[in-house]
């Protein structure tokens, strides 16, 4: 069935619509504090339209013979006699898929937020910022050169800062927003360095041109290596890879829908997207992919260990996100663009659903602490159903979505690097364990808290149910290899062959076994209590201490680097420079002036006879000059 292709003007509307929503809502923040409802309508309307357009766009891209569309846009920066920077759009299957994902998750989150943020005084501000974020993310996905990507990258970081620090009068939230911005900034330095390096060696920042240059070997391998490392540093900041992961758990201070949208599904995926976007460069650079894979696998295990011991439901989900992002990087590096992006798409849906479920649980019990929950499967059944579906999908049980994406990562990992495969398997085990620890602690057993839990409103439940559908089913997108074909050009095979046939590989059974044992262990510890969690804590107490202290990474950053190195070291030097050198220079100008004037003041004695003498001497001098010069 052939659908008419989307006209190019409407493609611009995909990211311009949410931007327009932001522009419309923001001037209204001050004048109309009371009537806040229309803001959400404007924002949701913009995102729905954008979603419709992006679905149409995806269909058009599917039909196009070369699956690519390049809109040259307009001349943005024209330095006379020098470089010219365009502002255009690059639409290929990668960006079309990402557009649909971002728009759908954003739409669900915004509908959910209508109920979640209902009584919040910052309602207007919230929807303005969410629209800004959506617009920036869409712009980042469709940017056609690295400079506009960087612009949107920064805008996304800004929106994240604004939304994490949404309740800015809480010091913890303000500090978390600052931390997020600063840590991602470190990554952005790498990104910027990569841009400069690529521009100076390749003469252009246009993405398609860079791809062809990298493939043909026009850029030297060492330059490519440094450039890709710089790009990956930026991705590490945004996607929370070790050691720049410390901001993600703190970012849970923001509202839960924000965590769902930004820190689970979309913004943190921007790093993965960047690596996928610039994949030909990574392929052409020696060892770049190895480094990406190693860091990704390490982060996966590292974060999963910390997720095992957290008592705050959102913190567990945050560490889970970091760990899954590590697996995405591993998949990208070992299996190609389609493996990582497939995992990203699936993860977006079920992680967003998990966060929205956590928000619903919070609405019911008034807390995020796992120790005060329990037995909620009876009290909030709808939330329970959605949450457990998402948890099962995340853990990776056939035939839900997470299984297929995890399959992709594990099979490519074992092909390339068995060590990394080992790390990935350990991660899978821990993922299943901590996820079901959460499920059993929250929904199983008896209610341990003091609140009166009640089910959430329909406005919150409907988006959750709608998200549950892709959380379960998005794995089947690749059942016939269609996903891979879209990104890779590989051959397709039958649908049921893909869904069922995967079970014929031994890899599938290994991963199912690992997942099953994880779930069983959680069941054993938290439902049947055959082994009490406290006893396990005691046995592994040193490991427990390491995990709960987050490997002392926060202390390392704050005390050592910020406290001593910067605060007492570098900043003291700057302060000395300012006080002694610069202030000294300014003050000495003043001292010289006042000293000179103090000396010159002595001429004005007030004695008129002195004035008379000076006058006479002056006359004599003038007369002499006149006489001498004739």
């Amino acid at each position: 069935m052939h659908i008419t292709s989307i006209p190019s003007e409407l493609i611009w509307a995909v990211w311009l619509l949410p931007l327009a929503a932001f522009a419309i809502i923001s001037p209204l923040i001050r004048p109309f504090p009371g009537k806040a409802e229309p803001a959400s309508y404007i924002s949701i309307a913009a995102v729905s339209l954008s979603l419709g357009l992006s679905l149409w766009l995806l269909a058009s891209v599917w039909q196009m013979p070369d699956h690519q569309l390049l809109l040259s846009g307009f001349n943005w920066l024209n330095i006379s006699g020098g470089p010219v920077f365009n502002f255009g759009l690059l639409i290929d299957p990668l960006s079309a898929i990402m557009l649909v994902v971002v728009n759908s998750v954003s739409l669900m989150v915004q509908i959910y937020s209508r109920a979640y943020m209902r009584s919040d005084p910052g309602y207007l501000r919230y929807f303005a910022f969410i629209s800004l974020f959506t617009a920036s993310m869409l712009g980042l996905i469709t940017a056609s050169n690295l400079l506009s990507t960087f612009v949107f990258w920064e805008l996304v970081g800004l929106s994240s800062y604004l939304l994490i620090g949404f309740w800015f009068h809480r010091p913890a939230a303000a500090a978390a927003a600052k931390k997020a911005f600063l840590v991602t900034r470190i990554g952005d330095v790498g990104f910027l360095a990569a841009i400069l390096l690529l521009y100076s060696h390749a003469g252009t920042l246009d993405i398609t041109t860079l791809h062809s240059l990298a493939v043909t070997g026009a850029i030297s391998a060492s330059v490519l290596l440094w450039a890709t490392l710089g790009l990956f540093l930026g991705a590490m900041g945004k996607s929370g890879q070790f050691p720049l992961h410390i901001w993600l758990p703190d970012a849970m201070e923001g509202p839960t829908p924000v965590s769902a949208l930004i820190h689970a599904a979309t913004m943190v995926a921007a790093g993965v997207f960047l690596v996928a976007r610039m994949y030909p460069l990574f392929e052409a650079a020696p060892h770049a992919l190895t480094i990406v894979a190693a860091i990704g696998a390490f982060t996966a295990v590292f974060a999963a260990t910390m997720g095992l011991v957290m008592n705050d439901i959102k913190r567990v989900l945050a560490y889970s996100t970091i760990s899954q992002l590590g697996l995405m990087m591993l998949g990208l590096a070992t299996g190609g663009v389609w493996v990582g992006i497939f995992y990203l798409v699936n993860h977006a849906f079920f992680k967003a659903l998990l966060f929205l479920g956590a928000g619903s649980v919070n609405h019911a019990t008034g807390t995020f602490d796992l120790r005060e929950m329990g037995g909620l499967r009876i009290k909030i059944p709808w939330t329970f159903a959605c949450f457990i579906l998402a948890a099962v999908s995340l853990a990776g049980i056939w035939p839900l979505a997470g299984f297929f994406s995890k399959e992709g990562v594990l099979s490519s990992a074992i092909d390339k690097q068995p060590v990394l495969f080992g790390l990935a398997i350990i991660t899978t085990f821990m993922t299943a364990f901590y996820m079901f620890r959460v499920v059993f602690l929250v929904f199983g057993g008896q209610y341990r808290g003091s609140h009166g839990p009640h089910e959430s409103s329909k406005t919150m439940l409907i988006p959750m149910v709608l998200l549950a559908i892709p959380a379960v089913a998005s794995g089947w997108l690749n059942a016939n290899g269609g996903f891979e074909r879209l990104l890779n050009g590989a051959a397709t095979h039958g649908f049921w062959l893909g869904v069922v046939g995967v079970l014929t590989h031994p890899m599938a059974w290994i991963s199912l076994l690992v997942v099953g044992s994880g779930i069983f262990m959680a069941y054993a510890m938290y439902i049947r209590v055959w082994i009490s969690p406290n006893r396990v804590k005691w046995i592994f107490r040193s490991l427990y201490a390491i995990f709960t202290r987050k490997y002392w990474m926060d202390d390392f950053y704050e005390k050592l680097i910020v406290g001593n190195l910067l605060y007492h070291g570098l900043f003291q030097a700057f302060q000395w420079l300012d006080k002694v050198v610069i202030d000294g220079a300014a003050n000495s100008v003043a001292f010289v002036t006042t000293g000179a004037s103090r000396m010159a003041r002595r001429i004005q004695t007030g004695q008129f006879q002195l004035y008379g003498i000076v006058a006479v001497l002056g006359i004599v001098l003038i007369a002499l000059i006149a006489l001498v010069r004739g």
Binding site: Q604, T605, G606, Q607, F608, Q609, Y611, G612, I613, V616
Partner: protein, 103 residues
């Protein structure tokens, strides 16, 4: 040698310089006034000398000298009145105490 213009002019210059020195270096206000009178007289002398030697039939130098004397008289009277008022104020007429012309 016959007395010419230059002789009178030199006398006038010497008188003027003596008056100048006195006006600039004496502490007593009345003495300063006296030295100013000497200077004015020296000027009158050179005026009359010019009138006598350069335009003897037009007495323009002498008329100017007459007006100079008039002005000198007026100035002395006002100056002395000021000095007396000053003396009444401060009980001495030392000009080194008159030093407010500086801000």
């Amino acid at each position: 040698m016959s007395i010419g213009l230059t002789h009178y002019l030199i006398v006038s210059a010497v008188l003027f310089s003596i008056g100048l020195y006195g006006a600039l270096s004496r502490k007593n206000a009345i003495v300063i006034l006296m030295c100013v009178e000497i200077m004015l007289n020296a000027a009158n002398l050179s005026l009359v000398a010019f009138s006598r030697f350069i335009t003897p039939d037009q007495l323009s130098g002498q008329t100017l000298a007459i007006f100079s004397i008039v002005v000198a008289a007026a100035e002395v009277s006002v100056g002395l009145a000021i000095i007396i008022a000053l003396y009444r104020q401060r009980k001495n007429i030392d000009v080194s105490n008159i030093n407010l012309l500086k801000w």
